[in-house]
């Protein structure tokens, strides 16, 4: 008869690696399908920075004619097209939202994959703890989500280099992507929690996408209206705003809250998952 490994810790690590590897292999196609087109779009946008900056004053004047609320809503309140990091930040709101939607889908998919594909019973009657499995799946999911931002970072750097643009402020440039990664990790964790809590696993993706749009909306409303400025506390997007990072040159201290939120949401997901019935 087979027995488990003699070292329980080693066995758990080996099982976690098995689960994480499996999860990565199942998610890598989604990562490439989402990140490569987005990276291509962002690269094209960045590759014209030089020409945009040459006509920058005219373009900035046009942007300045837009209502303040609109500029605030789309993150173009502080525009300096001549600065590559500011130029990136001006365009980054859209890409950060796409990354958040991807993170939401990955979080929900990872939480509900076994239930949706009816393999939960088979998996959790193998000698693996639910907590180990979820931790391994979470780590793989976070790697995929952060991988999305890493791919954008790498292709953006290449696009600027290819276009002959010197980024100059490297810390600020990387911080824009690091901030986005923190936002995406938070959205991922929230979606994972939604996924393990959903009574109908198939609805978890819709729920996660809806929640992401709602959080994004909170950030936009907080910027548009002074009366609703308190909503910024609810939106992870407000904690790592790309334009503010570009101006400041680094992440704001408050962005550490995103890291704390990520860990808290992952811990809650563990508690919720440990208590739920597995029936598929």
């Amino acid at each position: 008869m087979n027995t488990t490994a003699t070292q329980p810790l080693r066995a758990a690590r080996s099982q976690a690696a098995t689960i994480a590897t499996n999860e990565l292999s199942l998610s890598v196609r989604s990562l490439l399908a989402w990140s490569l087109p987005v990276a291509a779009m962002l690269s094209m946008t960045l590759s014209i920075q030089k020409s945009m900056s040459q006509r920058g004053s005219l373009f900035e004047a046009k942007l300045a004619m837009l209502p303040r609320e609109m500029r605030a809503a789309f993150g173009i309140a502080q525009t300096n097209l001549a600065d590559p990091v500011h130029y990136l930040a001006t365009n980054f709101t859209f890409y950060s939202l796409i990354g958040a939607l991807f993170a939401a889908l990955i979080g929900a998919a990872i939480a509900t994959r076994e239930a949706n594909q009816r393999v939960s019973e088979m998996l959790y009657t193998h000698p693996i703890e639910r907590s180990t499995a979820l931790a391994a799946k979470s780590a793989a999911g976070l790697a995929v989500v952060v991988g999305f931002d890493a791919i954008l970072l790498a292709t953006s750097a290449l696009a600027y280099t290819a276009a002959g643009v010197s980024v100059g402020r490297a810390t600020a440039f990387v911080s824009v992507f690091a901030g986005a990664a923190l936002v995406h990790a938070t959205v991922f964790s929230l979606s994972l929690l939604a996924g393990v809590s959903a009574t109908r696993p198939r609805s978890a993706s819709s729920l996660a996408l809806g929640a992401t749009f709602a959080l994004y909306g909170c950030g936009v409303l907080a910027r548009v209206s002074d009366k609703l400025s308190w909503l910024e506390h609810l939106s992870p997007f407000s904690y790592a705003d790309a334009a503010a990072i570009a101006t400041r040159g680094h992440l704001a201290p408050k962005s550490i809250a995103l890291l704390a939120a990520t860990f808290a949401l992952l811990a809650l997901a563990q508690v919720r998952f440990a208590r739920r019935d597995i029936d598929a």
């Binding site: 027995t3 329980p8 080996s14 499996n22 393999v119 998996l123 009657t125 193998h126 019935d277």
Partner: protein, 321 residues
Amino acid sequence: MGIAMQSTTRDARLAIELRALDKRFAGGRGVRALDLEVQTGEVFGFIGPNGAGKTTTIRAMLGLSRRSSGEAKVLGVDLERASADERRDALARVGYVPSEPGVYERQSVRDVLAFLGALHGGETRARRDELCERLDLDPARRADELSLGNKKKLALVAAMQHRPALLVLDEPSNGLDPLVQRTLFDLLREERSRGATVFFSSHVLSEVERFCDRFALLRDGALARVLTADELLRSKQRRVRAEFTPSGVEASALVALSGRRPDRDGRVEFVTDAPMRAVFDAVAEDVREGRLADVTVDHPSLEELVLDEYQSTARREVKAS
């Protein structure tokens, strides 16, 4: 090592032990006050109609769902309350086939089986290849393109590739063609001769009867009966099939004994635990009065016993209401 140490603290004869197991759902269905013992090395059949609570019981005892009250031990370990190490050690010796197994999408059969095998930590490849060959399962095929029967085969290989001490099979032959069913039961016989315990639920009562040492009948979430194959053979119950003449049906003593109404063709079939003397007296009277056209009295099959059990309970419920 954990397994050896634990075996000294538990009743090693019992592979499964349920005590007053209750699992309630918001909708009201579930299982209640279930007491059951399955001996190590035994082949145990778990029988019941759809919705009787078979799968609910299996999920509760394997720690997949939280029970409402009571106890459930598998290989001496309470999988809901045990420590992580104990639970892992116990599950390393369990193989489970769900009633409707799924598969990971976009992976080959080989990848899915290798992934599940790796969770056991030991060498499973040789056994996995052997099982795939015997069950005629192509490891190169994409798992999500498999038919129900092939998904079942995959689940069977996953459950047996690590040579478990306890096999829990929920409707294992469902979806398998007759040839593969035969291979499956050959494999289960081999597992049994190796000393493994087999616990399986099935709707196909003839296979349960042929294969199991004991059977438990579940009805509406409660245990209706547990009996051994020997008890079935030695049962005082008899199956009576009788055909009456058109004029003899109404006054028949056998019909009165059965408590049933004959069908349109004047036939009645029932299982009775009335003394044989009473059965023969009734038959003799009907023969004497020319009421009986044909009669057979023999041992009932498990299927007939089960049907009779359920029909009797249903009749009692109708009368009570």
